[in-house]
Amino acid sequence: MEKARPLWANPLQFVFACISYAVGLGNVWRFPYLCQMYGGGSFLVPYIIMLIVEGMPLLYLELAVGQRMRQGSIGAFRTISPYLSGVGVASVVVSFFLAMYYNVINAWAFWYLFHSFQDPLPWSVCPLNGNRTGYDEECEKASSTQYFWYRKTLNISPSIQENGSVQWEPALCLLLAWLVVYLCILRGTESTGKVVYFTASLPYCVLIIYLVRGLTLHGATNGLMYMFTPKMEQLANPKAWINAATQIFFSLGLGFGSLIAFASYNEPSSNCQKHAIIVSLINSSTSIFASIVTFSIYGFKATFNYENCLRKVSLLLTNTFDLEDGFLTASNLEQVKGYLASAYPSKYSEVFPHIKNCSLESELDTAVQGTGLAFIVYTEAIKNMEVSQLWSVLYFFMLLMLGIGSMLGNTAAILTPLTDSKIISSHLPKEAISGLVCLISCAIGMVFTTEAGNYWFDIFNDYAATLSLLLIVLVETIAVCYVYGLRRFESDLKAMTGRALSWYWKVMWAGVSPLLIVGLFVFYLSDYILTGTLKYQAWEASQGQLVTKDYPAYALAAIGLLVASSTMCIPLVALGIFVLRRLKTGDAAPVA
């Protein structure tokens, strides 16, 4: 007799787990960037259309597959067709890659969180140089927040070739991050189910606090108005639609196998259609909510920098022309400049090259995404708020909750197939399996704590999951609709949940969503092929800014290996099963 499959204690735990997994860092640091780049308020149009056409159907499909097959991704696809278990294996491989590099973000969040308990915040002041007459040179050229990120946190090397050694501080934080993840997944759904109550709800508390604080900041309305003013001409830009589709796809975390794993612990009769709609709606509204917060923070930061710039120009003019202190204000600056230009032309032309053109628009235009947004731009805004330690602690605590919530889903995607497999689970208890997976990921993850670690992180971030996931979800959809049979699946669902499948889902699963994914896939491939050599941004300490460099050959090989190792699983496993079957039937034939 088999042991009963562990179940979620109540359906709320399942919904919270899915929300905790889907609502991750991408909602906070990718969506606001896309919104800004592709027309502000008008980006919501392609985003919502893609949500309805692509996000909800695919999410429902994955949840339904997991709930019906009641196994992890490998087992679920083996049930559909043994030749397709490669899809499950590919999911596990991609999840493994993701788990390795994603937890480094949690390590960085821990680092910043621990450093938030100091006064003043360490990223708000530059350290002094050797003879204490000025500030450190690199810090002067860049800003103090950039210096803290690139030098103190990453200790980044100038290029990917210079590996450097493992930095012990981020390594310790990474170890702690893995220990925390292990603590949460130790007991399987029993422990995960309780942890997700916190990881799903606490980020919302912090976001609400930040919303109130953000909207009351000076200059927040500048940011909000600038970002949300719709630029309708962007609707005609195909990139806007493609990025909307991509964002929905990756934001929901489809294809990793985590959703299948979570749904496999459901009661067979639970209403996964309702859950799918709820989770996707909450995910998208969180993105929009987070971007309101982000834009008000942007506005605050841009206004602050703009006013600083004006102050510097006023000071320069006051000092050069010995004007009365406090005479120059923001309103009369232009007038006075004109007057000075005409009255003292020679002196003015001397000082003219140093006068910066301060523009609020150009400050607002600086669009940043990813770790740059989270660890540089946000910290810059936080250091200018009152009681900055409190805001900093809240913010990084929220980042941690979001990151750990996503990690729980990832590790579930890896562990569920492993614990389902009889071979492994008969030899090792599930605590040991989880421990081993965490240990291996932590050990390999130490690569990301070396001096060139951030460059490898960018490689993993950009290439480990993108193409492979599109392929995996495409094969999943085709497998369920055409290999397993849409009618058979429909009757299974009806028997399981008692509800008939609406025509909308059938049309989406069988036709529209696969076509969309093929379109995205073709776009990405052609984009990679057209760009030629891949480039990356390296931090140049002497200039205090990022420079573009080419990837060396072995990095390109690593990228190819990353993509190939997950995508090739599908055909290779199919081939392997085919060969094994042939051998077995070959053995059996002489008997007949």
């Binding site: 680092w111 308990f117 220990l179 010995d322």
Partner: protein, 222 residues
Amino acid sequence: MLWLLFFLVTAIHAELCQPGAENAFKVRLSIRTALGDKAYAWDTNEEYLFKAMVAFSMRKVPNREATEISHVLLCNVTQRVSFWFVVTDPSKNHTLPAVEVQSAIRMNRNRINNAFSLNDQTLEFLKIPSTLAPPTDPSVPIWIIIFGVIFCIVIVAITLLILSGIRQRRRKNKEPPEVDDTEDKCENMITVENGIPCDPLDMKGGHINEAFMTEDERLTPL
């Protein structure tokens, strides 16, 4: 004769204190930036205080204890407020070397700032770099303390969970190996043999077979 001497003295003074003169320093104050509404006006009394502070700083230098307020000369006061100053020796013919003045001002920068309720950024001595205050570095970085606390808590929690998991498993292993799903949920540990509960009969005093004993009336009434 006196007029001539007077002119000579002022001429010499004028020569000694000039913008860009040897051993002269430019000072720049931003009183309104620092104090806003509470800004005071810069007048000759403030200048006197400034001269006094500079003389005070010079008196702290060995060999220069005889510096008087009249040895400090100010010139070119602008609306900014900015001016140049030099410190002359007792004979009022030469100015003191810039290096001495510089080191004296650097030593007493704090006192000078406080006398005017300004700071290093609002009371600037051009060409005299101020010594920046180093950030206070505690002996053990704070982040390590917090890291240590959280690390220990997590390790303790993991150990507790693992130990309780092992204990649960050991308890489960003590039961008979062929345990059905339904009997898993059974609260009482009843030993089973051939599907018949093996309660010691003398403990319960026998079972009542309900199939035959429906009511009190065991005997049909005649």
